[in-house]
Symmetry: C2
Subunit: 162 residues, 2 copies
Amino acid sequence: MNEQVPEAMRWSTENCTISRTMRILGDKWTFHVLREIFVGVRRFEDIRARAELPRQVLTERLAALIERGIIRRHPYRLPGQRERYEYRLTQAGLDLYPVLVALIQWGDQYLPLDDGPPIVPQHRGCGEEVSVVLQCAAGHEPTPREVAIRPGPGAQPRALAG
Amino acid sequence: MNEQVPEAMRWSTENCTISRTMRILGDKWTFHVLREIFVGVRRFEDIRARAELPRQVLTERLAALIERGIIRRHPYRLPGQRERYEYRLTQAGLDLYPVLVALIQWGDQYLPLDDGPPIVPQHRGCGEEVSVVLQCAAGHEPTPREVAIRPGPGAQPRALAG
DNA sequence: TGGCTGAGTCTGTCAAGCAGACTTATGCTC
DNA sequence: GAGCATAAGTCTGCTTGACAGACTCAGCCA
């Protein structure tokens, strides 16, 4: 029980926000599917062809995203064809934009391509590039080193702690 | 070739920034491991115990993160014990803070707990809570609906397009 | 010398991903 | 109305990865 033990070891990860979020988003394909919908590719066959994932996996991921309220099915009908469905973002889905933009931003910085970025988040209003910035409630913009992740009011002590 | 085909279908996903980033971060465990290191849990056995992942998977993930330059091994020695290693974030790792904070922020909004958030990103300087905001190069703070993901200079046309 | 501990490695089982073929529903053309 | 085209799935068998639990290895200490 010396102070070498990090303080975080005393807290459970059971209800951790990152765990609970990753249970929904944290697999190889979900972000690929979301990317397609974000860039405007909304139909099953188009998503499958562009993201190159097995149909079965796509079926399963779409169902999971619908169940979690991130996308919804929306009926559409091309002239001379029967009704089908496309997949659109709900508000919860749209609110994943900061996550997506943060990923793109990191990738552009640490895995750059010779030709420049293949995709760019853009402000529809003014056409300028969009990025994410860290901001604290007092209005500062801390660097990563100035940020710490601390236990909050919902933190639960860990069994076997210490 | 009617205009029902989304514009994005014309572009390849092969070099997509999200794909390339997800090849590194996009699996069930990587973010859990990073979370531990972010909150200050740096030693193999501590990470394994708190994140509850199989040792073999932890070994493999740590090696991958080191290879991608996101963490590094750092020797340490407790009094009366032999030298061991702990894992620390590199600058590239620290720069994942916006991704992590964006995930926490989304989770707190859409998967809230009765007791409040279990973890809170905090500005070390002033103690206030840290969040991420979307910001365009002209200084606007667009809502998700005002953001669009567009092909950039490195976009490649898709074979079989149309 | 023998035991303890952190940090792995090994082994066998089982779930998930995968490619590719098959199915289903509907509307169109002839 | 028969047959064809198409989007959106299901089905099948193979392969890969996750997993729990046991084993190993190196250095320190009693």
